[in-house]
């Protein structure tokens, strides 16, 4: 049922088959455009325009004349290098772990576990949890007098606990933020991977098994390549969100762990320089576009591979 609907849907969305209503010529062709117009207009005003505005702001001085002052101020800032580095390393650490964990969770749900529906619900809960809430939740765990230290001291493993979130321990600070992100944002990858797994025809794996492929070989050479479209979507989504990482870091580390979005916020609010803030915004956008392009290229979906033959 699921597969059938998905199949029909995919072919419809890809425009493989003309939508029946239109084919019968009962509708005037203007209708679809009228239906799309509000969305297109809205996106032009609140998506395309601010993008241009960001470019303008970033290359303007406070007086409105063209200048590189804002960009120079950004790149010259003491925290700039750290912010770029931390944001990139954060994404590079969290996303692969998340992807592996999510694939594992999805495969587990597919393995005929009794109560898989219940587990799916539990594992989907973080979908609704914000990065800010996640930061606060893990703050209650990692803070100096938090739950982990309570446990360590309670069990007599430590005298006063370990300062996980101290600026003197940048590594543990980074890891705590990574755990919070892993906790919150793995669900979304899992849901995408799971729905990707569900449309893989069973016969492929069975055929591979007939030819003597081991479970790992089937995963590596059948499941994984077929999952590529889903992984592409999940990775793009997660990478873009990771470059905007913000509230979870502020909640756990204050200003001790610089990331790009936090610097944008800082320059906008504390320094009151929308121009420098816009330069940061532009940098985040540029990074997002570059990585999206890389994913689209590296995880290119070849139709023939999926048996679509288009």
């Amino acid at each position: 049922m699921q597969g059938e609907v998905a199949q029909r849907e995919r072919s419809a969305l890809l425009g493989d088959t003309a939508a029946p209503l239109a084919r019968r010529g009962r509708r005037i062709p203007i209708i679809p455009y009228a239906l799309l117009a509000p969305t297109v207009l809205f996106l032009l005003v609140f998506f395309a325009w601010p993008m241009i505005q960001a470019l303008v702001l970033a290359f303007q001085g406070a007086d409105g004349a063209w200048s590189l002052a804002a960009v120079e101020r950004m790149t010259g800032d003491l925290r700039f290098g750290d912010a770029v580095k931390t944001t990139l390393i954060f994404a590079a650490v969290v996303i692969p772990l998340q992807t592996v964990l999510a694939i594992g969770m999805a495969l587990l749900l597919m393995s005929n576990l009794r109560g898989a529906g219940f587990f799916l619900y539990l594992w989907a809960i973080p979908l609704g949890i914000s990065d800010l809430a996640s930061g606060v939740v893990w703050l209650s765990i990692f803070t100096d007098r938090g739950y982990i230290n309570s446990l360590l001291v309670g069990l007599g493993l430590s005298d006063a606990g370990y300062p996980f979130l101290s600026y003197e321990n940048p590594l543990s600070l980074f890891l705590c933020a990574a755990i919070a992100e892993l906790w919150r944002a793995t669900s979304i990858v899992m849901v995408i991977v799971l729905s990707g797994l569900q449309v893989i025809p069973k016969d492929y794996g069975e055929a591979a098994e007939v030819f003597g492929a081991t479970a790992w070989q089937r995963f590596r050479h059948v499941t994984l390549p077929m999952l590529r479209p889903s992984l592409q979507v999940a990775l793009i989504l997660r990478t873009i969100l990771a470059f905007q990482v913000f509230a979870v870091v502020i909640a756990l580390a204050g200003r001790q762990l610089p990331v790009l979005a936090e610097e944008a916020y800082h320059f906008y609010y504390d320094i009151r320089s929308p121009n420098v803030a816009a330069a940061y915004a532009l940098l985040i956008m540029a990074l997002s576009l570059v990585f999206t392009a890389i994913y689209l290229r590296v995880l290119r979906v070849r139709d023939a591979e999926l048996g679509r033959g288009r």
């Binding site: 699921q2 029909r8 849907e9 995919r10 969305l13 890809l14 029946p20 209503l21 239109a22 509708r27 062709p29 679809p32 969305t39 609140f46 998506f47 325009w49 993008m51 505005q53 960001a54 702001l57 587990l108 597919m110 393995s111 898989a116 809960i125 979908l127 609704g128 914000s130 800010l132 809430a133 606060v136 939740v137 703050l139 209650s140 803070t143 007098r145 739950y147 230290n149 309570s150 001291v153 606990g161 906790w183 849901v191 995408i192 799971l194 569900q198 069975e206 098994e209 479209p229 979507v233 873009i240 502020i250 909640a251 979005a261 906008y268 609010y269 816009a278 915004a281 956008m285 997002s288």
Partner: protein
Amino acid sequence: MTTVAAPAALRRRPAPRWHLYALAVVISLFILVPIYLIAVAAFTPRAVLNGFPKPVVPVAVSIDTMQAFLNTRGVGQSVINSLIVGLLTLVMSTVLGAPAGYALARFAFRGRDAFQLLILMTRAFPIAILAVPLTVTFITWGLYDTLPAVALVHTALALPTTVLITASIFISVPVDLEEAALTLGCTPLGAFTRVALPLALPGLAAASIFTFVLSWNEVFASVILTVSNRTLPAQVLSSLGDSPLAYRFAGGFALILPALVFIFFIRRYLFNMWGRVVR
């Protein structure tokens, strides 16, 4: 719902099952224990909460911490603000996005691929970050520091997903039924409102809930676009630095609560939201 098909291998020679269950339980604990702990923190009397080592099981339950949080200046109003922004976002993104989703689901037309590309592009884009340049626009429009301004950015954030979700929902409503209504003399609009819409309603409701949660959770744009009219996340974020831990924990729990309820209601539609992706 979804039928989860087992790989052939697992059906024929079952792996050590306990081992898979143990893994599932461990993952569940990883997800649940932090939620449990923040709930304990939010409902523990302040004196116990400030003690160390903290008890991991609730020794005394009290709503004092939660009450103190909600009575803090600005918090009550910020909850109301969040509800207003969420509802505005929901209405705007549904009114704008649902027709587009319907068009994608039912019509073949020139420019369809270009439109899909636009939707995909916006999805692969840090939209919340656009709040920074938008402040300038909103100041000229007199919208800065107002709830509609926040709702507009949240709508931009939700709209691409709304279009994709509604498209997938309308595709799952059989087109034959609508055609039957047309043959029986319904106008296209009548066929839509009397046949397609009622069938799509549960899915659309789930999509709305999703949009609401997205708005309820969004913090970057909210905190950039407002000064006095804070939403709840913006309020909590901007007072993080100078508030006692009890306040933060209560705020964290207040932020999570709707998520738990909403995910329960939309769990059947998770795949409509994220699974079906237009390529």
